[in-house]
């Protein structure tokens, strides 16, 4: 929603927050533009939820500046509450109410927005509108939570791990719904530790680790920035001889090589040349191949390259 006035939908400047002795945010800067879907990526404990809750006015930062839609929480809270859509990570809505009752309740708090029936249709919950919340599946519950976030027709939508714990089908259905909202030109801030989710939904992502931003850009830019196009992984189980890794390093297009528990991981730039050469070399060394996999570099590889750890280690 481009409006005259604020340039950015969200502006965080040098945000710090500590809980007792744990530093959750260590000088975070972030700008989210109007109309973009911005992803906060990182492992558990990276500070994603703290960041989003500070933006939502539910937690206060120890220091730093927060500007949401050009407004500030200490002076414009009532106005902000009307204009934000919020989905928290682990809210359990009341089990004894039906879908319609829940949405009507949330709708009553907002001055404007679609009618409960419209929202129910939008979230594909028509069949369940008279069902109690307790009888909904995980995916339906998340859609209801999204419905409650959208009842006020928000300018800015906050989604904190909206698809965690869902099966792949339910996840894709939710992604479609989020994309529809995005296509209507609204701004979204989403946290996730699913790389696929970020690559599919986000225009830009910030990768967070230990309360800091360690990378920022479009998913494509970030993937390109690590200089890896493909990853090749193979296992040479039951080989009598030990693999001579140094011979692999000589092959054109093969970068870093990691080997772990008999599985070898290689960064590769030109797949079509490197793979035949790799096979030739293994044949020459007399090593039988039990498994061979390749994938295009992903945000996961970006995170591994930047931190040496996997996103879902914790």
């Amino acid at each position: 929603m481009p409006k005259q006035g604020p340039r950015d939908a969200l502006r965080l400047c040098n945000l710090r927050k500590a809980y007792k002795d744990v530093v959750a945010l260590d000088g975070l800067d972030l700008d989210v533009q109007f109309g973009e879907c911005f992803g906060l990526l990182g492992p558990n404990g990276a500070g994603k939820t703290t960041t989003i809750e500070i933006c939502e006015g539910l937690t206060s930062a120890d220091s730093g500046e927060v500007e949401v839609l050009g407004l500030h929480w200490n002076s414009d809270a009532a106005q902000l509450r009307q204009r934000l859509g919020i989905q928290l990570q682990d809210t359990q809505l009341s089990d004894k109410l039906t879908v319609t009752e829940t949405i009507r309740l949330f709708r009553s708090f907002y001055r404007q927005g679609p009618s409960p029936a419209e929202i129910i249709a939008m979230m594909q919950l028509e069949e369940k509108r008279k069902s109690r919340v307790s009888s909904l599946s995980g995916g339906q519950k998340q859609r209801l939570a999204l419905a409650c976030a959208l009842v006020g027709d928000p300018d800015l939508l906050f989604l904190d791990e909206p698809t965690t714990g869902l099966d792949p089908q339910a996840r894709r259905q939710l992604w479609d719904l989020i994309e529809e909202f995005k296509l209507a030109g609204r701004t979204i801030l989403i946290t996730t530790h699913y790389m696929e989710e970020a690559e599919r939904l986000c225009d830009r992502v910030a990768i967070m680790d230990h309360g800091r931003k360690i990378a920022l850009g479009t998913p494509q830019e970030l993937i390109a920035s690590i200089g890896i196009e493909h990853m090749v992984e193979f296992s040479a189980g039951g080989a009598a001889k030990k693999l001579d890794e140094s011979a692999l390093r000589g092959i054109e297009g093969i970068g870093d090589i990691h080997s772990e528990n008999g599985t070898v991981q290689m960064q590769v730039t030109e797949l079509h040349r490197a793979v035949p050469a790799l096979l030739d070399e293994l044949r020459r060394q007399g090593i039988p191949l039990t498994e061979l996999r390749t994938h295009s570099a992903s945000l996961e590889d970006v995170f591994v390259t930047l931190t040496g750890r996997h996103l879902r280690d914790e």
Binding site: G57, R81, S94, L97, R111, D153, K182, L183, T218
Partner: protein, 336 residues
């Protein structure tokens, strides 16, 4: 990338035009919150049992236990002509007007089960013989049971109803979710009180109706005064319930606190037996408890026909509890 942006740009304008942002809805947040609260309560069979059915079962059980013979006409002695006249209107009473000394003899010999004298400020004093089962049963039924159970029910339903629902909403982070909306926070708390007052009507009518029909419990005071007493009592206990649940994050913690608060009152406030039996030293404390105040005021209203001025001290105690507890609860309340 550039393709995606241009498509979303176009769709955005269409979408904004198609759905005007002001489809106003008539639902008032306070009404919605209260309706939702009532529905949540009514859809919980256990709560319905404890609030509506259990007190009646208890009244019936105790009533049967203390009524060792079928209802019959009760002989009582009265020392003032005015009282005698008014008591004679009660069908189940055989009223005999005697001098003070003759009445005392009649009571001691068991000729009458109860001796009634006018007390200070237009109140009435009852004397009965502890060793006479008929007298005790009559007193249990008429004086103690129903007002005591009413008071106990006002306390239990307010404290449990308020406490569990609030702590549960906090535990499930539903409260945090609501706070993230533009919901005015006072409405949230007010909805609990409104729904409590609506349920109060059902609760009191059921129990009082049972008492009147099954045990012929008298309601001598004005019904308006009686209703006001119930409302004030319920508000005081709601405030107490709000205070108990103002910070607790688990049901276990809240339920421990509730028992800690309610148990002494169940014992000391004269629900089942007279609070007068406790030593004189602790009487001022017992009288300052909200349950004692509610029960005393209800008894005065129902049995002695006292008006609100006559139960002034009790009203003052209840109001004090209400104001102090609400004040503290609002200060301490944890919204997440």
């Amino acid at each position: 990338m550039s393709d995606v942006t241009s498509i979303s740009g176009v769709r955005s304008r269409e979408a904004v035009e198609k759905s005007p942002r002001g489809t106003g809805s008539a639902d008032h947040p306070l009404v919605q919150l209260t309706v939702v609260r009532l529905k949540e309560f009514l859809r919980e069979p256990e709560a319905l049992f404890w609030v509506f059915i259990f007190p009646i079962l208890l009244a019936a059980g105790l009533g049967i236990a203390f009524r060792n013979r079928p209802a019959e006409v009760l002989s009582i002695a009265v020392v003032s002509p005015d009282l005698a006249q008014s008591l004679r209107q009660e069908k189940l009473l055989d009223v005999e007007q005697l001098s003070t000394s003759a009445a005392g003899d009649a009571l001691r010999t068991g000729k009458v089960a109860l001796l009634v004298e006018p007390g200070a400020n237009g109140s009435v004093v009852y004397h009965y013989d502890d060793t006479n089962p008929e007298g005790r049963a009559a007193k249990m039924l008429a004086n103690f049971l129903i007002p005591g159970l009413l008071g106990m029910n006002l306390m239990g339903s307010a404290i449990w109803g308020m406490g569990f629902a609030i702590v549960d909403a906090r535990r499930k982070k539903l409260m945090k979710r609501l706070v993230a909306t533009p919901m005015p926070r006072p409405y949230y708390l007010l909805s609990f009180i409104l729904s409590r007052l609506l349920l109060l009507v059902i609760e009191v009518v059921l129990l009082l109706g049972f008492g009147v029909i099954a045990f012929h419990v008298p309601v001598r005071g004005s019904l308006l005064d009686f209703s006001l007493l119930c409302v004030l009592g319920s508000l005081s206990f709601s405030a107490l319930g709000l205070l108990i649940s103002s910070r607790a994050r688990t049901i276990e913690a809240a339920s421990g606190l509730m028992n800690l608060v309610m148990l002494p009152m169940w014992i000391a406030s004269g629900v089942f037996f007279s609070a007068q039996r406790f030593p004189a030293v602790v009487q001022p404390i017992i009288r300052a408890l909200p349950l004692t105040a509610v029960i005393d005021a209800l008894r005065a209203n129902m049995l002695q026909g006292a008006n609100l001025t006559q139960v002034g001290p009790e009203l003052a105690i209840l109001s004090a509890w209400m104001i102090v507890c609400f004040g503290l609860a609002l200060k301490l309340f944890r919204w997440r």
